[in-house]
Symmetry: C2
Subunit: 300 residues, 2 copies
DNA sequence: CACACTTACGATATTCGTAAGGATT
DNA sequence: AATCCTTACGAATATCGTAAGTGTG
């Protein structure tokens, strides 16, 4: 037989110990006085000892009651701290979300979204891993990230995926480049010009090659970072093709970007999470905000 | 609105977190599975968050549940420590009793009684103040002693008193003293012989003077400690009169002690406690043992 | 279809508030 | 007489277990 005590028992005990009056303590506990009396008695029965000496005039803790007073106070405080903690998590005033995202998304679209989320829930810690697709999934699998923004939709029971948006590829070249003003843009037009590629590990490169296959590019360079691609193109080293979500990097007067008509020339951005565990409230709220604020697809 | 949680909620939560099965956790909590299910739901409703992700195959903590797990474990452990503590006090395996007693009782009668009590309840700490009557009462008034053994029965609403025993006065003299063999012993016989008194502060002295009044003694010495009185009498410095409960000190071949017939020549030993607060369980049990083992009145 | 959680539901236990009782000042 | 805790008691609520329902492998 294990005893069952509730926070109401603790509150009643402490109220009575402090106020030394059943009537007033009952009122503090929002109970009628007889109900309060019964509650105290049930507590005394549960612990097997009389905790208060009472006659019609005075109420006072017994020796056993006094030994209980301080521990009970701490216990209730701990309880309430815990309740407050989870309450703050429910109210999204506290918590932590960790997102793994491709660099192309991390730099362009996410900052604005994170800013909005942070303004709404300043108490929630945000963590962002900007890394390549495989590593993103690995972080989610290991539980270090709540979910990932990735360009691959891994089709396994391990994952729960949802489409965030489709991201069309654009040609980027200098303003004075021949392709900048060509009437209709075709894939085979690319072959004639020096091309700045992403490294083969990047999802942009992989998507691009798959979409353009078997068309070959005139690769002059393979680089890792988006900024480097931009610099190269701006200096006329070559042209490139990038997804719309990275175009923020190329928004400068010396450059031009133009979408392709070809429907296959796009990638899909997925929200990916583990199928076997739900999202925390904080993670869910950020996830939902992402769905709600889907990246606008640029036409220009 | 303040939430009400019970130890059963905690136990259910922890059992389910550990066993990851409603069926098995319900069994551990001695509940039917649907009742257990309802209990978990009521916990989730109370904290306002889903704590377990469950489908028909798997049960697992949510992120919020995980944040709750360790604190809940500590909280329940604290609860049970506290319950165990008070249980041990109720069972008298733990506790503390403090007694204030006159030196005459502290040295003679109490040691055997304390030994008996200690053997029965080795976990209970015993404290003994052996001091004069006024100081005994002061210790009880201040709450530093649970009750006192005193020769004065203070007749005030402040005190609750109970008679422990009556203690008759005996003449003590050397074996070779004239009074050692006198056929009938009268008070006035005392006046002719040098008398060793206790100090005026002692209750023995006060009782004796009150009882013998207006008879005057031939005082040769006033000393504080019982042992000193014994030494003086043994060396033939004088005779003395002491209560029966101190006779243990005079049980040696060279000395004789003889009771007086006079009924007034006795003192009453009281158990004295504060009227406004009860005794702790440990104190009550020692108190009751004292009543039960009242000092045997010596006839010899 | 077997297993595991949820829902339905009637029975039982607990807890509530009002009203009466008893003790003390 | 007034105050304060306890007891009595019918009503509302909570909790229980059995049995049926539901979804998943």
């Amino acid at each position: 037989m294990q005893l069952n005590l509730s926070t109401r028992h603790l509150r009643a005990f402490l109220a009575l110990a402090e106020l030394r009056s059943f009537t007033r303590a009952a009122h503090r506990c929002h109970l009628s006085q007889p109900a309060f009396s019964a509650l105290v008695r049930s507590l005394e029965d549960a612990v097997g000892a009389r905790l208060f000496d009472r006659d019609t005039r005075n109420v006072e803790l017994t020796a056993e009651g006094r030994t209980l007073e301080e521990p009970a106070r701490r216990l209730l405080a701990d309880f309430e701290t815990l309740a407050a903690d989870i309450g703050e998590r429910v109210a999204l005033r506290k918590g932590r979300v960790s997102v793994a995202a491709l660099p192309s998304l991390a730099a362009g679209w996410l900052p604005g979204l994170f800013a909005e989320y942070r303004a709404a829930h300043p108490g929630v810690d945000l963590e962002l891993f900007d890394t390549l697709s495989d590593q993103c999934l690995e972080l989610v699998r290991a539980g270090r990230a709540d979910f990932a923004l990735a360009a691959t939709g891994p089709d396994s029971a391990e994952w729960a995926t949802e489409v965030l948006c489709r991201d069309r590829f654009h040609l980027v070249c200098r303003h004075d480049h021949p392709l900048a003003r060509k009437a209709t843009l075709r894939v085979k037009d690319l072959a004639a010009h020096p091309f700045v590629h992403f490294t083969r590990a990047s999802s942009v490169r992989q998507h691009l090659e798959a979409a353009l296959h078997p068309q070959q590019m005139a690769t002059v360079l393979e680089v890792e970072h988006l900024t480097t691609v931009m610099g190269m193109v701006e200096e006329g080293v070559g042209i490139t093709v990038v997804p719309a979500l990275t175009l923020f990097e190329f928004d400068r007067g010396s450059l031009v970007h133009r979408p392709f008509r070809l429907p296959g020339l796009e990638r899909t951005i997925y929200l990916v999470r583990r199928a076997d565990r739900g999202l925390s409230l904080a993670a869910r709220s950020l996830y939902d905000l992402m769905i709600q604020r889907k990246p606008a697809l640029r036409r220009a």
